[in-house]
């Protein structure tokens, strides 16, 4: 899992200079507790953007 994404990097290819997620980043994307918290935070942020836009 730690090599997830890294294996796709091709030396001096298009994607050589970017970053790829490691195991913690990958885990957090689908961790229900972390994502539930992020869900609340993203919603609040989006609501602020919406209210600033009207």
């Amino acid at each position: 899992m730690s090599k997830y994404g890294e294996k796709n990097i091709r030396a001096y290819g298009n994607n050589f200079t970017t970053m790829t997620p490691g195991p913690v980043a990958k885990f957090l994307r689908t961790n229900l507790i972390f994502q539930a918290i992020r869900f609340i935070i993203i919603n609040i942020k989006m609501l602020v953007v919406v209210s600033k836009s009207h």
């Binding site: 796709n8 298009n14 970017t18 994307r29 972390f34 869900f39 953007v49 600033k52």
Partner: protein, 489 residues
């Protein structure tokens, strides 16, 4: 009794018409002219295009909704505007042609006191030979721009999946079909939905997936890219996008003007002037957008289309169309009231208004071919503009012709975008992004042009859940179900 005519019942026009009907009540008349019998929540066409939703789940009949709202509905397309009336009457009117079964082709004039043009884009497939013609999509590529296109795209996708299951390798090419396209976000979402579906079908290892677009860098999205807060950094959307492409093993060609499509092959020119070809088994290329081709005629019967509309067919509004070179561009070039400068009772909102210039820096190849994204006017800004314009018209009808106009500049407005990959509640993920403001203001926010507190992006299930909620919320709102006015655009 005053009459407001709204041309176009899409995201922007539907918002404008329904709010206007709510605010004006039965003392005044709201008329919608739109060629489609059904409303389409276009963002979910992506899921139709991979077979995760049906056409019925993303569309509904307009007639009962408009009947409930007291809106007069003409299933027709507008052909022309006569803002000064004609030789026999000073009353402005629009000429419409019915698209209703049994009445198709019938011409009618509809007088108005106020006009809102929300006709959205003409999908200009004909701009690229082989991409399609004046009648629409061609035979070599697919599209997800309409629900019907998306149904067709899904059928073609599944033919490829069947071939891969039988051991035949397939090449997927997704992106933009011309150097002057917008809507990269939709193609971006589609490519990752395809990648997700191929994984689910167990054939990802049989597929080569490639992105082709007119962006000068990956993650430009037609807004000149954006910097978002992540891990304590203000990270460029280039890194964000490239990272996602690398992770999912999707290669890319950028700075590309697709100039010809043949069976299984596109021809393109790059920003450095070189020419290339790319083969494909399945390709979804977004066409460039143009105005829908409305004509404008003055009282004397003279064609004043060039006065009312920009050369790309979009309606001129209160924008600064003389900003000139990129170095001179300012956030204040962008319109705020969407009022036509020649006729004060005419407004344009959503994709139908003529932007003052792109948001991304204009670029061209050494051969002089312009290759840069044109500015996106996504769902949230289109809805907000529609509501602001409806508010202005209602005030002018209810308070008086000098009532101040409401403002909704894209330079003071944010946008929320959620690009999903997959649909399952626990298996899909999404990149959720907000951008504030849509048009960068380098005077107010030196450096990045945006407020990085409110410009952010992250990948995960949370964004995916938001995408699901938005789908149901916006369809609820568009159907005018209880509480619809409380749901923000």
């Amino acid at each position: 009794m005053a009459r407001l005519v709204v041309l176009g019942g899409g995201v922007s026009g539907h918002t404008a018409a329904t709010f206007a009907a709510e605010w004006l009540g039965s003392a005044h008349e709201v008329v919608v002219v739109t060629p489609n019998a059904k409303w389409n929540w276009i963002p979910s066409n992506i899921w139709v295009g991979v077979g995760q939703m049906t056409k019925e789940e993303v569309t509904f009949d307009l007639a009962p909704v408009y009947a409930k709202a007291g809106i007069k509905y003409h299933q027709a397309k507008a052909l022309g505007i006569h803002p000064e009336g004609n030789e026999t009457s000073d009353k402005p009117y629009v000429v419409i042609e019915s698209t209703e079964a049994g009445k198709a082709g019938q011409i009618e004039n509809i007088e108005y006191d106020y006009l809102i043009n929300a006709t959205g884009p003409k999908l200009n497939f004909a701009a690229t030979p082989g991409l399609g013609d004046a009648n629409g999509l061609g035979e070599f590529t697919v599209s997800v721009c309409t629900a019907d296109h998306a149904v067709h795209a899904n059928e073609e996708l599944h033919k490829c999946i069947e071939k891969m299951k039988k051991g035949e390798r397939q090449k997927f090419l997704i992106g933009t079909g011309h150097g002057m396209c917008t809507c990269q976000g939709a193609a971006f979402e589609y490519i990752f939905n395809i990648e997700h579906e191929l994984n689910k079908a167990g054939v990802r290892d049989m597929a080569d997936i490639k992105w082709i677009s007119n962006e000068s860098f990956l993650g430009d999205f037609g807004v000149g890219g954006l910097h978002m807060k992540a891990m304590g950094f203000a990270v460029s959307s280039k890194i964000f996008a490239e990272s996602l492409f690398a992770e999912r093993d999707v290669d890319w060609i950028i700075g590309a003007h697709v100039n010809k499509v043949e069976k299984g092959k596109v021809h393109y020119e790059l920003l450095d002037g070189s020419m290339g070809e790319e083969e494909f088994d399945f390709s979804m290329l977004i066409p460039p957008f143009a105005g829908v081709g409305l004509k404008a005629i003055n009282k004397a019967g003279e064609d004043i289309t060039a006065t009312i509309f920009a050369p790309n067919g979009f309606m001129k509004v209160d924008a600064n169309y003389a900003a000139g070179a990129y170095e001179n561009w300012k956030a204040s070039d962008w319109p705020s009231t969407y009022q036509n400068p020649t006729y004060g009772n005419m407004f344009a909102c959503g994709i139908a208004f003529a932007p003052p210039h792109p948001i991304s820096k204009p670029m061209s190849s050494p051969n002089g071919t312009p290759i840069n994204p044109t500015p996106p006017r996504t769902g949230m800004p289109s809805g907000i503009m529609g509501k602001a314009v409806a508010h202005s018209v209602c005030d002018r009808i209810l308070i008086g012709p000098d009532a101040p106009l409401h403002e909704a500049s894209m330079a003071h407005m944010g946008a929320a975008c959620v690009a999903s990959a997959g649909k399952g509640l626990f298996t899909g993920t999404a990149a959720a992004m907000t951008i504030y403001p849509v048009v960068p203001d380098f005077e107010k926010y030196p450096g990045t042009g945006r407020d990085t507190e409110y410009t952010f992006g992250e990948i995960g299930l949370a964004g995916h859940w938001i995408k699901h909620i938005l789908h149901h919320l916006f369809i609820w709102k568009a159907k005018l179900k209880p509480g619809w006015t409380l749901i923000p655009e």
